[in-house]
Amino acid sequence: MLQGEAATTIDLHLINRVAGGERDAIAELYDRHGARVYALAHRILGNSTDAEDVVQDVFSQAWRKAATYRADRGSVVAWLLVITRTRALDRVRARKPSEQREQRLDDCDSPALASKAAPPADELIAREEADRVRAAVMQLPLDQRQALELAYFDGLSQTEIAAKLQTPLGTVKTRIRTALATLRRSFHA
């Protein structure tokens, strides 16, 4: 799974404090998950400027709406990532058609390319976990992964995916459902 029970409990405590108006708590939430939020926004939008704007929107929304967070709908991380995806896709849809391709290719200004100091141990553990997750996704059959990624990262409807892949709609539905079921099992592993 994305993070252990202890980390989930810490997040719950943090989101409670955020709902209570504690700025220290939202700062800590940023320290814990800001990089994840940024990475997803960057993946969807393809450039740093828009990704930074989305990160700001996401934490601003988390700050204002922490009181509406529902733990029974998913972890705090999953909630932040749902907001991130929605905000990022809204920006993609708001772009002029001519900008869309251009922006997606504008991917060379990534600060990730800069060299970094040796990471601390908890970051290494997080990376190891991320590698494990990435491996689970990569093990999905290519057609399933492709359909799921088009739906999730590109925000395409199942009808749009069917047209793009020239595949029957029912098949697209099945691929997405099967891929998610496989990931759900790996979440329990």
Binding site: A35, L81, F187
Partner: protein, 269 residues
């Protein structure tokens, strides 16, 4: 709810999570989720699976200046109401303040009223009101301090280098319960439980740390509302090691020095 409708909506959950439903379908799923824990759990799992997918995004570091920008953008606008659903009751001190503020406002109001009414009988009644309000404010302040210290202890347990996490398996009528314990020999014990049936009438739940067959009480499981329970306690005995069993039994009110009731939850390291 009909099983046909349940099945149909269950088939829409992936699209719901991906934001691909029409507004009227989305509203229908929303409505169903309120009453169907099975679909709510399935949705939770789908959301977690999608979070796993998000995790495959290439790691790009945000610029160091972004944090300051994010924090500077926070306004004082807040959305109400407060959320109601967490699996752990962890209330921060600040959330208790509205209660204290209300009590303080009551005190001020009573004080002003006292100045307006000069008759002695009125003063006597008002004085009793002031005493009651003062006692309530003191009680609230004590609750705030208790919650605050519990939260601090829980965090110190969760972040302790020697902390071990263990699942507590439900037994008897508690087989459906989900419970975990976080045990640090140096900091203490945190137990959280969900879907726990109410204890038998006239009984409460008591938590035990057992080492080498010797049980020691860690305290009573509190906050038993809606099947949830929680205990945060310092180590019940000095020198207890990491290899322990944590068990929950039902006992008479106030608890006992040694367990006598049925074991409802148990797990070992």
């Amino acid at each position: 709810m009909s099983s046909g409708r349940h099945d149909r909506i269950g088939g829409l959950l992936e699209e719901y999570a991906l934001g691909q439903l029409r507004p009227e379908q989305q509203a229908e799923v929303d409505l169903h989720l309120r009453d169907c824990p099975t679909c709510a759990q399935a949705l939770r799992e789908i959301n977690e699976a999608l979070a796993l997918l998000a995790e495959t995004s290439p790691a790009v570091e945000p610029p160091a200046s972004l944090k300051a920008r994010v924090l500077a953008s926070l306004t004082e606008e807040r959305e109400e109401p407060r959320r109601a659903h967490t699996t752990v009751e962890t209330r921060s001190g600040l959330q208790q303040w509205p209660w204290l503020a209300a009590a303080a406002a009551l005190l001020v109001g009573i004080g002003l009223a006292a100045m307006l009414y000069r008759s002695e009988s009125h003063n006597r009644v008002l004085s009793q009101d002031v005493q009651r309000a003062t006692a309530e404010a003191t009680n609230l302040r004590e609750r705030l301090q208790r919650f605050s210290s519990q939260t601090d202890l829980a965090l110190s347990i969760l972040t302790a280098a020697d902390m071990r996490e263990l699942s507590l398996a439900g037994r008897e009528n508690a087989v459906a319960a989900a419970a975990r314990a976080y045990w640090s020999p140096t900091r203490g014990l945190l137990v959280v439980a969900d879907r726990l049936p109410a204890p038998p009438p006239g009984r409460i739940y008591q938590v035990w740390v057992i080492e080498s067959g010797q049980p020691v009480s860690a305290g009573l499981l509190g906050n038993q509302s809606e099947g949830r329970g929680m205990l945060v306690a310092p180590p019940p005995r000095q020198g207890t090691g990491i290899a322990v069993t944590v068990a929950v039994t039902d006992e008479p009110p106030g608890g006992l020095a040694a367990p006598s009731g049925t074991i409802r939850l148990a797990g070992s390291i």
